[in-house]
Symmetry: C2
Subunit: 255 residues, 2 copies
């Protein structure tokens, strides 16, 4: 089901705090949703610890495998913020003072506050293009097909928003859903498999849900062919109705 009209993407999360269970990641869902909305296809996510060789290897594997790689985390001023120098190492380029960023940070913070730790944030891989945001004076950056963003969600979100116009748009990926309260996956699996087989250009998913208001199954169809989506969801609706259950358009809990 590859769609050549949809650029591919990966996310690399650099952060011990995710691996230790301290922090609930919410960046993947944000980036995934925004990529889908511009017709990019997120194909892989990895989370690695703050260890240089692990970061460098993951960056090089993922940037080679996908059209774009988005990283989050590790671009602050502290000892555990090593993403920027690791990106330089991954690309085999010097990690050096980025003059415009350096000057902007020095002016903004005042020379007396622009200490060695903060100067690291104005040090970028050679060839990097800053991703400026209104939220922080220290930028994210792009180098080649790798886009390096903060880990703090609201800063990451402002960086992604700044970056988004440069990514270009793929063929729009639409989504349709239908669900039924009381549907059992095992009872509709065969019929659903037949629908998937008839609409091979689509991606049909089956997702059980468990709510106080009622449990059941949501069927979600994704793809770039709107007519096929409509037809496939109509068949899914019939499949649910065939169980003696009223099909409800949309995701459970959604309007």
């Amino acid at each position: 089901m590859s769609e050549p009209a949809n650029p591919t993407a990966a996310i690399l999360i650099i952060g011990n705090e995710i691996l230790s269970g301290r922090t609930q990641d919410i960046n993947v869902k944000f980036i995934a949703g925004r990529l889908a909305a511009i017709g990019h296809r997120l194909e892989e996510v990895r989370v690695v610890p703050d260890v240089p060789e692990r970061i460098i290897r993951a960056v090089n594997e993922l940037r080679a495998a996908y059209d774009n790689l988005f990283t989050t985390g590790g671009i602050g001023p502290t000892h555990d913020d090593i993403t920027s120098e690791c990106i330089a190492a991954a690309f085999g380029v010097p990690w050096e003072k980025h003059q415009p960023t350096w000057e902007a940070m020095e002016t903004h913070l005042g020379p007396e506050n622009f200490n060695a730790a903060r100067q690291r944030m104005a040090t970028l891989p050679r060839g990097a293009v800053p991703i400026p945001t209104s939220m922080t004076i220290a930028p994210g950056f792009s180098i080649g097909n790798v886009h390096v963003m903060a880990g703090v969600p609201r800063i990451m979100q402002s960086m992604f928003t700044a970056l988004e116009p440069a990514l270009g748009r793929g063929a729009p990926i639409s989504m349709r859903a239908v669900h039924g309260i009381g549907v059992k996956e095992g009872s509709i699996a065969a019929g659903l498999g037949e629908i998937q087989a008839r609409f091979a250009m689509l991606d049909l998913g089956s997702y059980p849900f468990y709510r106080d208001s009622g449990s059941g199954v949501a069927i979600v169809a994704k793809g770039t062919d709107d007519a096929a989506l409509d037809a496939a969801i109509a068949e899914a609706e019939s499949l649910i109705a065939g169980q003696g259950i009223v099909p409800i358009r949309g995701e459970p809990g959604a309007a």
Copy 2:
């Protein structure tokens, strides 16, 4: 900072619904926290789509690289549930009727409801050991160092809980934290780097937080040496106090 006394682990999330932005994953944080509590060290997370060759490759890379691999997702009865046969392929073993599971499901569901889709859930890689739970009649399973669990969080959690005693315990990994409202990372980075250098056996992280009740930085120390943790956090406390800010033990927002 590798700790040979702590078994390593990876998580593989199999699910288009995470990559499309439809679903917020909460399984990583649960598994990560529980692993930390039993002294296992989560080293990597990957999310891949429901594509056989992608699943097989990730399983084989991760099971070779870490002591344990936990997978979530893709073990239901529908066409997009392909984890079990992919695990068989990854191990190069037949995917075959698992007699006790087959009989239990047939008895529980009744032969008339035990259709081909549900029979797939009683079909396991040869050598797999079921992970039974009270929540579903269809089990997860372990094969070698790979532990295959459901994607639905409450079912996954019951499977992990059932599995946990068999994992064994590593040296307990403790965590200490201190935070300060108004602390700026760039102002304490040098001092924090010195503390990390003095306590190389620990893993010190610096995490900015942004709350309506006040923004600042949390310093988190992790490791297996409780005396070193106490000493390092005391130094971090002094570092914050040196900024003219009152250090507060624990994470922000925690008691």
